[in-house]
């Protein structure tokens, strides 16, 4: 994958990029595992970091064992692995998101075909919708949606605005980070943090935090594959 893939306006995102994304996400989640678990300790059950770390390690292993032949395969394999290995609320939710993204990109193209940033933006949006449907959560409920939905909007907007892939991913990362931070003052209405009612105020939602990491990994993946 060349530098233009991520820098250029219409460059394609290839399989290597998606593998790199999953690797970067896994690495960051491993590094931030304890922080995620601590966030979950405050308003949940102190397992979010270990849950995701376990799941993403398995994603890495799956990708190594069966190298994906297309972006769609990479994302669907990741989704299936997360569903099969994480458990909890975040397993089915993240798993469905990745699976749905993969499905959206699985347009029957020949293996190895790179996808356009526009197609990815749409697929990402479809992934977020899958989470919303499954979890019956809306924006403002203090969940991963509050980081994922702004990221999806930012991606779509940058594509509409014709900005470059690098810029698109960077804006998505910023939107996710802002979205995660914005969960701090919210009262949780979904997931186990909702049991705390007002006591959930003042804490960042762990799922929103992990979503921000996963979205941010898009930019590191881009620079890595661009650099490599």
């Amino acid at each position: 994958m060349g530098a233009e893939t991520v820098a250029g306006g219409g460059g394609g995102l290839d399989t290597a990029f998606f593998v790199a994304w999953l690797e970067e996400a896994a690495g960051e989640i491993a590094r931030q595992r304890d922080r995620l678990t601590e966030l979950d300790a405050a308003i949940g059950d102190a397992d979010h970091g270990t849950n995701l770390d376990r799941g993403f390690s398995e994603v890495l292993r799956a990708l190594r064992e069966t190298p994906p032949a297309s972006p769609a395969q990479a994302l669907m394999a990741a989704g299936a692995t997360l569903i099969r290995r994480v458990g909890g609320a975040s397993g089915p939710l993240y798993g469905s998101a990745f699976r749905q993204m993969g499905k959206a990109l699985d347009s029957g193209e020949a293996p190895g075909t790179a996808v356009t940033p526009a197609a990815f933006a749409e697929a990402f949006g479809a992934g977020v919708v899958a989470v919303e449907r499954l979890g019956k959560a809306a924006a403002g409920d203090k969940t991963m949606i509050d980081a994922l939905a702004p990221a999806a909007r930012a991606l779509a907007q940058t594509v509409r605005d014709g900005l470059g892939t690098g810029e698109a991913l960077a804006r998505a990362a910023r939107a996710a980070a802002d979205g995660a931070r914005a969960t701090v003052p919210m009262t949780a209405r979904r997931g186990r943090a909702s049991y705390l009612g007002e006591r959930s105020v003042g804490h960042e939602d762990p799922g929103a935090a992990s979503s921000a990491l996963i979205v941010a990994a898009l930019t590191t993946a881009a620079s890595r594959t661009a650099a490599g």
Partner: protein
């Protein structure tokens, strides 16, 4: 953190090895705990599961007259669909399978996914949601499933053992849940092996009211008080939601780190409270049944019995954690 484990990562598998070795009536396969003798043709299968750390729930309730299989997840993490699918297929005796699901987002989603994928088995599902501490369920994931799970598994399991069809077993499970309410209070946090330190800090003079079973903080914090007052807080919350009357099945449940001696003190207060409301504690359990690792505290679960539920509660059961009549 000191725990009797080899490593946090191997905890659940190591414990399952021990469980299988300790209970010849159980068979453990791929993180599914089954009755050793396998499914009985024509009998509805009962499958439950959830995060580990609540022992004896659920694996300790696998056996004659109760569950056919349990799917233990990682500590406080619901099992994955694969486990539930494997369990569902393994226990199907041709009469269908009932999933007993505690109402947590993770449990609900994972069991739902499994049920969808098991299209070769007729699956019904009952949601246990008994925790009155969660009040404004419009703005939450709904009431948590806690102590009533034991009642649902026992009573539905007894009816399944009698050969009732799936719809009937599901009905009595729903009915048991509808008649049951719980409330829990913590004196200390628990420590999950993966996190390595207490989930929350609780000052010496305070307790958490309205806790669940995952070591999470409760709805409010309150000053520590004598057992009589703490029992009254729990019973007021229950009675306010489902007035105590008639014959009651009552469980005073330890959260894992509470001495049995103290649970009996709480039970004495609970029993007196119920009597004071004109109800009668007709059946009871006192002990560790639905725990949160090493948390100190208790929960009370009350079920308003009718003749059918009483009969099914009294029916023989033979599991590691509940056993009578055989």
């Amino acid at each position: 953190m000191k725990k009797l484990i080899n490593a946090a990562e191997s905890l659940v598998d190591d414990a399952l090895t021990g469980m299988a070795a300790a209970h010849p009536g159980l068979r453990v396969r791929d993180r599914v705990v089954l009755r050793a003798e396998g499914p009985r043709p024509g009998k509805v299968g009962l499958v439950s599961g959830g995060g580990s750390g609540h022992e004896p729930l659920h694996a300790g309730f696998v056996g004659y007259g109760m569950l056919d299989a349990a799917c233990p997840g990682e500590v406080f993490t619901s099992p994955v669909p694969d486990q539930v699918m494997e369990a569902t297929r393994a226990v199907d005796g041709g009469a269908g399978v009932l999933h007993v699901v505690k109402n947590y987002t993770g449990d609900v989603l994972n069991f739902e996914m499994a049920a969808e994928l098991c299209d070769d088995v007729t699956v019904a599902s009952v949601l246990v949601e008994d925790d009155v501490a969660v009040q404004d369920s419009l703005y939450t994931a709904g009431r948590r499933g806690t102590g009533a799970t034991v009642f649902v598994e026992k009573i539905a399991g007894a009816l399944a053992e009698e050969g009732a069809p799936l719809a009937e077993v599901a009905r009595v499970a729903e009915e048991t849940g509808r008649r049951s309410r719980s409330f829990g209070i913590a004196l200390t946090s628990c420590t999950t092996p993966a996190a390595g330190r207490p989930t929350f800090d609780l000052p010496a003079g305070e307790v958490e009211l309205g806790i669940g079973i995952h070591g999470e903080p409760g709805r409010t914090r309150a000053p520590f008080a004598p057992a009589r007052e703490l029992a009254a807080v729990a019973m007021d919350a229950i009675h306010g939601d489902l007035p105590l009357e008639g014959d009651l099945l009552v469980m005073v449940n330890g959260m894992g780190g509470t001495p049995l001696l103290e649970l009996y003190v709480v039970f004495a207060e609970v029993e007196a409270y119920a009597r004071g409301k004109g109800a009668r504690v007709a059946r009871s359990l006192v002990g560790n049944y639905v725990t949160s690792l090493d948390m100190q505290g208790f929960s009370v679960t009350v079920c308003r019995l009718d003749d059918e539920l009483t009969r099914l509660w009294d029916a023989p059961v033979e599991t590691p954690a509940l056993r009578w009549g055989r």
